[in-house]
C-alpha cells in the first residue's frame, strides 16, 4: 500500500513538473518569436511581400464613426496590397482599457492601438517611440504629450470642453450666458426659481459625468497645464488656499444650490442627456463629442448652444477653454510588423485620409492644414474667442501616488453631491497623499 502511494506521489509530481514546464515553455516561445520575424521583414525586400495582417484596436461611443473607420482601414489594402488591417472596436473606453491591460500582460496587444492621454504613462513600456516620423511635425499636440522627450502616440482629435444650453429656454426666461462662476450660479438659481425646468442635468449615478467640475476645475483654476504633475511635487496639494481646495469649494457651492433635479445621484448619463434633449433640463456640461449625440437624438442642433466653463471668480482673470485631446494612436513594441505599422500610420495620418477621419468624428483637427467641417463649432468660435488650455495628464509620479491612494475625484464628486463637506474630505486626502509620496 505504502509503495503504491509513493508511486502515485511520484507520478503526480512528475505530472506537475511537466505541466509547469510546458506552461513556461509556451511563455518563452511567445516572447522570443517576435524578434526574428521582425528583423526578417525589415532586412530583405522579398519578405515585405509576404502577407501581413495588422491588428488595430480603438473605442468610440459613436457607432457611425466605428463603421466609418472599419471601412476606411480596409482601403489601405489598395495602397499596400500585401497588408490587411483588421479593426477591433469597443463601445466604451473602460471595457477597452481593461481588455488592453489584460492583453498587455499576455504580450497580445494589437499592432496599432488607440489610447487616451492619461493612459500613455501606463502603456509607455508597450509602445515604441515614433520620433523622426514626418507627420509629427504636422501634429499640433503630440509634443505636449511626450514622455522623457519621446513621443509614443499621436492624437487624432481634440475637442473643447463646453457647457451646453438650450437657447430657447434662455430666451424664455430672459437669461444670458455667464462668464464667471458667480454668474453661473446665479443663472442656475434663476432657472430653479422659475421652477419650469431642471437647471442642470447631472448623471451623477455614473460618477464620470461630474468630470467637467471635479476633474477639470482644479486644473483650470490653477492656470497651469502642468498642474497634475506639479501636484506630485507637493506634499499637501489639497491644503486650503491651493487650487484643488479652492475649486472644490466652488463646486461645493454649486452642488449645495440643489439645482440638479430631484435626485442627481439617482440618474445616469443617458437619463441626464434625455432630460436635456427633451428640454426638461436647461444646462449640461460635456465635451464637444456630445453635440453629435444630441443631434442624433433631437434631429437638429438649432436649439443648442454652448459657452466655456465659467470657472473664474471675476472678469479680471482671463477665461481659458479646456481642450481635451483624444484617440492617440501608437505602435506596440510587441508587434511583429512594426515597419508595416509605421507605413500604415503614415498613410492614416496623411491629409486626405485624416480629413475623412475628423469629419466622421465631427471634432477639432489636430493636424495643421486640415480643418474639420463642424458648423456647431464654427458658431461657437464665432461667439467665443478663448485662449485654449490643454489637458495634460499627470506624470509617472502623479500616477503612482494617485494609484497608491486610489484617488477618484469623480467618486469624491458623488460624495459632495450627497452632502459631504470639502473640509471633511480633503484633509484626510492630504495625509494619505503625503504618506504615499514619501513611501517610494
Amino acid at each position: 500500500m505504502k509503495k503504491r502511494n509513493r508511486v502515485t506521489l511520484a507520478l503526480a509530481s512528475a505530472l506537475a513538473a511537466t505541466t509547469l514546464l510546458s506552461a513556461c515553455g509556451g511563455n518563452n516561445g511567445g516572447e522570443a518569436s517576435p524578434s526574428p520575424a521582425a528583423s526578417g521583414a525589415s532586412s530583405s525586400p522579398a519578405a515585405s511581400k509576404e502577407k501581413v495582417t495588422l491588428k488595430m484596436a480603438i473605442w468610440d461611443v459613436n457607432n457611425d464613426f466605428l463603421t466609418y473607420l472599419d471601412e476606411k482601414v480596409k482601403e489601405y489594402s489598395s495602397v499596400a496590397p500585401n497588408v490587411t488591417v483588421e479593426l477591433e472596436t469597443f463601445k466604451s473606453d473602460g471595457d477597452y482599457l481593461q481588455a488592453m491591460k489584460v492583453r498587455a500582460t499576455g504580450n497580445e496587444l494589437p499592432d496599432v492601438m488607440g489610447l487616451k492621454p492619461n493612459w500613455l504613462y501606463d502603456f509607455r513600456e508597450q509602445l515604441i517611440p515614433l520620433d523622426g516620423e514626418a507627420y509629427l511635425a504636422q501634429n499640433q499636440y503630440a509634443d505636449k504629450f511626450a514622455i522623457d522627450g519621446k513621443t509614443y502616440a499621436v492624437p487624432m482629435m481634440a475637442f473643447p470642453e463646453l457647457v451646453y444650453y438650450r437657447p430657447s429656454i434662455f430666451q424664455e426666461l430672459n437669461l444670458q450666458a455667464p462668464t464667471t462662476w458667480p454668474q453661473f450660479l446665479e443663472l442656475l438659481q434663476n432657472i430653479k426659481d422659475n421652477s419650469k425646468y431642471i437647471p442642470y442635468a447631472m448623471g451623477g449615478k455614473d460618477a464620470w459625468p461630474n468630470y467637467p467640475f471635479n476633474e477639470f476645475l482644479p486644473q483650470l483654476v490653477s492656470g497651469a497645464e502642468s498642474y497634475l504633475s506639479d501636484m506630485a511635487k507637493d506634499d499637501s496639494p489639497f491644503a486650503e488656499g491651493k487650487p484643488f481646495f479652492e475649486s472644490y469649494k466652488q463646486i461645493e457651492e454649486l452642488y449645495a444650490l440643489d439645482v440638479m433635479g430631484p435626485d442627481p445621484l439617482g440618474i445616469g448619463w443617458d437619463q441626464a442627456t434625455d432630460l436635456f434633449s427633451s428640454k426638461q433640463a436647461a444646462v449640461i456640461a460635456a465635451g464637444l463629442w456630445f453635440a453629435p449625440t444630441y443631434e442624433a437624438k433631437v434631429g437638429s442642433i438649432d436649439d443648442l448652444a454652448a459657452f466655456p466653463m465659467p470657472y473664474r471668480l471675476d472678469e479680471s482673470e482671463p477665461l481659458k477653454l479646456m481642450m481635451f485631446t483624444d484617440h492617440f494612436y501608437g505602435i506596440t513594441s510587441g508587434s511583429d510588423h512594426q515597419e508595416e505599422a509605421k507605413q500604415f500610420l503614415n498613410w492614416f495620418f496623411s491629409p486626405d485620409v485624416y480629413q475623412t477621419y475628423i469629419d466622421a468624428q465631427k471634432l477639432v483637427s489636430t493636424f495643421e492644414g486640415v480643418e474639420s467641417n463642424v458648423p456647431f463649432l464654427k458658431a461657437f468660435y464665432a461667439d467665443n474667442q478663448n485662449e485654449t488650455f490643454s489637458y495634460i495628464p499627470g506624470d509617472a509620479e502623479y500616477t503612482r501616488i494617485t494609484n497608491a491612494i486610489q484617488l477618484d475625484v469623480k467618486a469624491i464628486g458623488q460624495d459632495m453631491m450627497a452632502g459631504k463637506k470639502v473640509e471633511d474630505i480633503l484633509p484626510a486626502l492630504n495625509d494619505k497623499w503625503a504618506k504615499a509620496k514619501a513611501s517610494k
Binding site: V7, L11, A12, L15, A16, T18, T19, L20, A23, L97, Q98, K101, A104, T105, D122, F123, E125, Q126, G204, K205, D206, A207, G261, P262, D263, P264, L265, G266, I267, Q271, L275, T402, N403, A404, Q406, D408, A411, I412, Q414, D415, M417, A418, K420
Partner: protein, 289 residues
Amino acid sequence: MQKRLVVVSFLFIPVALLLLFLLYPSLRLLQFSLTDWNGMSKSFNYVGFDNYVEAFRNPDVWKALSNNFLYFGIHAAFIPLEVMLAVFLNNKMRASRFFRSIVFMPYILNGVAVAYLFSFLYNPINGPINALLEAVGLESWIRNWLSDKSIVNYSLVVVSLWRFSGLHVVLFLAGLQSIPNDLYEAATIDGAGPLKKFVHITLPGISRVMEIVLFLNVRGALQVFDIPFLMTQGGPGLASTTFTVYTIQTAFKYNNYGLASSLAVILMLMIIVFSYLQGRLFKGKGESS
C-alpha cells in the same frame, strides 16, 4: 501494471487541467500578492507582506467588508423564511408546481438583466416603485433608493434576495422530498404534532442541504459583485462598494495588482475559515439533537 497504466492515462488529462487552470494560477496569485506589480510592466519587486498589512490598515477595505456582512446577515435572516416557503411548496397545495417554477425563475435570469431591471424599478424619475408608492398614497415613503448612502445597500440586498432566495427554496425542497414519508407516519402513530415532526424529522432531514445553503450564503455574500457593480458601480462614493468590487477596482482602475492579489487571497481564506466555522457550529448542533 496494465491496469495502473490505464488509470494513470485516464487521470492524466483531468489532473493536468486541474494543475494548469487551478493550482498554477493560485500559486501565481500568491506570488503576485507579495509583489508591487502594476499589472502591465514586465518587472516587479517583492515587497513581502506589505500588501496584506496595507489591506488590513485600509479603512476602505473594512467599509467594503462591512457591506458584505450586510448581505450575509440579511440573507441568513431570510433562511427560516425560505425553509417555511419550501415546506409550503412541498405540501399538496394547488398549483404547487407552478409556484415552484415561479420561485426559481429569478435565479435563471441573467444577472445583468436583473441589475438593469431593478435599476429601472428604483429609478428616481418615473420609477415604478416610487410611482406605486404615490398611487397608494405613501409619498412619504419615497426615497432615493440608489443614491441615499444610508439606503443604497439595503436596496441592493433586496435585489440579491430576490435573485437567490429561489435557489435556496428549491434546494430545501429537494431536501424535504428526500425525507421518507414513513418517518412522518411513524411519528403520527406515536402522537407527534406538526411542530415536533418539523423539529425532529424535517430539520435533521434537511441538515445537509442547510449546510450547502449556508456555504452558498457565505461564499455568495463575500463574493457579491455583479449587483453593486452594475447598479451603482460601488457608489455613491464608496457607499455600496463590496470586497470584490473594491478588489477589481484596485486591480483594473488603480493598476495595483499586488494589493488586489492579496485581497483575493484574503477573500479565499475568509471563505474557507467562515465555512469551516459554520460547519463546526452546525455539526455540533446536529450531533447533540
